[in-house]
């Protein structure tokens, strides 16, 4: 039997067996043909029990079956990040690069990862500082004082780091104190006895633990749990030709609409692409790497409204800075426009003229006027408005 006949037979039989471990299957992720296999689990695959056209429409409920290669790929991703990655960024050199440039890219990636991993672990001095690629407004504000093309790995990480608000700090501090009372003891003497320290009062002991000055393993585990000190991203870099950056959380804020979240993704990719001088794309579940890096700086996420706005699949090198600044400017005036948070970035970037946005700002302002700062942002935005 030829391969084609085998596949046709498997395709015919697979629909009924898509949610059953037995029988012939087609992997819903990579389309590979395979035989029997165990049902997928939510621990490594998103919503394995949800409806899929790969299965019979009104068939019996169950969990989808994926091929062993896809299953083990997800296991590795989970092992890398200590959890299920929400998305994976892929970084490639934009052109063929020599040994020196390649070594420099690898060095930058390793330096970035060394600083980031310290910040996201119990080694950090300040557990209130976190890393996020989704806070577009904060990143844009920090970038407005720097040149993205000359950022060092340390400066690049600073652009993506934020400090928790006073309320959150207070809340975490209280949680830490409560957890210590529950697991170690009610008084400072209990803490001193457990940690082998000589703190004079309870607050000083809690503060020392928050600052990472206490080396007791139980206490550090409590600290990591309270301040969520775990990697939110990982940088996997063995070769300059392919750098993987799995992210634990999706790049979205609050109740972002799909297109708003896609704009945030594009912005983060442009920052990384221009700062590290490479091409960046987001790899969805089951996506194959079909690009070589020369297509542009960042691949526009697969959201039709955003692809239509940008006008192409890739943001090219000559337009990358323009889009970076425009998205940054949109995020900096988003609050002043009073547009709904879930779609404000898209609404600003798709406005017919800067006059529409200006009028909106004036209507929302108490004084009824926009400021000179707003005009400067609108001038930046004007470059991409159509």
């Amino acid at each position: 039997m030829s391969v084609v006949q085998q596949q046709l037979a498997a395709y015919g039989a697979s629909k009924e067996k898509a949610k059953s471990p037995k029988g012939e299957h087609f992997c819903p992720i990579c389309n590979a043909q395979f035989g029997e296999g165990p049902a997928a689990k939510a621990a490594y695959l998103d919503k394995p029990e949800s409806h899929t056209n790969r299965a019979v429409s009104h068939g019996s409920p169950g969990y989808i079956v994926i091929c062993p290669a896809c299953k083990y790929e997800r296991f590795i991703q989970n092992l890398l990040l200590g959890g299920k990655p929400a998305e994976i960024l892929v970084l490639l050199p934009r052109m063929n690069i020599g040994q020196g440039s390649g070594a420099e890219l690898v060095h930058k990636a390793h330096e970035l990862w060394a600083s980031a991993s310290r910040l996201m672990s119990n080694d950090t001095d300040d557990p209130n500082v976190h890393v996020s690629l989704a806070l577009t407004q904060m990143i844009a504000r920090k970038l407005s004082e720097q040149d993205v093309f000359t950022l060092s790995p340390r400066a690049l990480l600073d652009v993506f780091t934020y400090s928790a608000s006073a309320d959150t700090r207070k809340k975490c501090r209280k949680e830490l104190a409560d957890a210590l009372r529950e697991y170690i003891g009610e008084t400072v003497n209990d803490l001193n006895a457990s940690w082998g320290t000589d703190f004079g009062d309870w607050d000083a002991a809690v503060q020392a633990l928050a600052n990472g000055k206490v080396k007791d393993e139980t206490a550090l585990a409590i600290r990591a749990d309270v301040y969520r000190l775990q990697p939110t991203l990982k940088i996997v870099c063995q070769t300059p030709h392919l750098i993987l950056l799995p992210l634990r959380d999706p790049m979205a804020v609050g109740k972002d609409a799909e297109v708003n979240a896609a704009i945030r993704r594009l912005f983060a990719m442009l920052v990384l692409g221009l700062a590290l001088d490479c091409s960046v794309a987001i790899l969805g579940s089951g996506d194959a790497i079909t690009f070589e890096g020369g297509e542009g700086v960042a691949r526009v996420p697969k959201v039709p409204a955003l692809r239509d706005l940008v006008g192409s699949e890739w943001v090219s090198l000559d337009t990358a800075e323009k889009w970076l600044k425009a998205i940054g400017a949109a995020s900096l005036i988003a609050q002043a426009t009073g547009l709904p948070e879930r779609s404000n970035l898209y609404q600003i970037l798709s406005a017919p003229t800067p006059g529409h946005i200006l009028r909106r700002i004036e209507e929302q302002s108490d004084s009824g006027a926009a400021s000179y700062k707003h005009i400067k942002h609108l001038e930046t935005l004007k470059e991409v408005l159509r």
Binding site: G355, L358, R359, E362, G368, A369, Y372, I375, L378, R386
Partner: protein, 214 residues
């Protein structure tokens, strides 16, 4: 046998008329440079007679000459204009109106509102931008004036007092020196004296905020 009626639903390409839209905005902007209202807060005041021209042009029932005459009369009726308009500004108004009327007749009726809206907000942005830049230049003059007078910021905050120097950390944080605002009316003697002195010295260079009743 009945004839078959076919409809071709072609989509209007706004990009095709973009250069014409930009040309009209430039002409009206040139005219408004001589219109006496420049920094008022309302859109109505900033756009002057052009707002009425845009509104009437989209009905496609006015010819260019009548509409220019209507706009000129509206200009003359503004007391601040003193019934005068330079030949260059009048020509810009006439050319802008002629091109606008022609464009409104050229584009499909379903696209007229969209095209006029682009001209409206494009022009509004150009006018407002100029106004805000003029006010910003005046603010910078005020900053330089106070830097020259006090040299050190601590001397300025000592003269103005805690109430008026609140939220101002350096000369760069100083606001536009309005002598009509509530903040001016409530300000202390030191700040008021500085603002008054500034307007005396820079009356011919600085740009004042305008009232709405113009």
């Amino acid at each position: 046998m009945r004839k078959i009626i076919t409809v071709h639903g072609g989509r209007f390409d706004l990009d095709g008329v973009r250069p014409k839209i930009e040309g009209i905005v430039i002409l009206f902007d040139k005219y408004l440079d001589e219109y006496p209202v420049k920094t008022a807060k309302s859109k109505h005041a900033v756009m002057g007679p052009v707002a009425k021209v845009l509104e009437r042009a989209q009905t496609r029932q006015w010819d260019a000459q009548s509409l220019t005459g209507y706009a000129l009369r509206a200009h003359e009726m503004n007391p601040k204009a003193r019934s005068y308009l330079s030949p260059a500004a009048r020509q810009a108004l006439e050319d802008g109106t002629t091109q606008l009327v022609a464009l409104c007749r050229e584009v499909p009726v379903t696209a007229v509102a969209k095209v006029v809206e682009r001209i409206d907000y494009g022009l509004y942005y150009a006018r407002r931008k100029k106004g805000i830049e003029w006010l910003e230049n005046t603010r910078q003059m005020f900053v330089r004036f106070l830097q020259g007078k006090y040299g050190d910021f601590s001397r300025l905050s000592a003269t103005w007092g805690d109430k008026d120097a609140k939220d101002i950390a350096s000369f760069a944080d100083l606001r536009y020196p309005s002598d009509k605002s509530e903040a001016y009316k409530k300000a202390g003697a030191g700040k008021k004296a500085d603002i008054d002195e500034f307007w005396k010295q820079y009356a011919d260079q600085a740009v004042r905020e305008e009232d709405e009743n113009v």
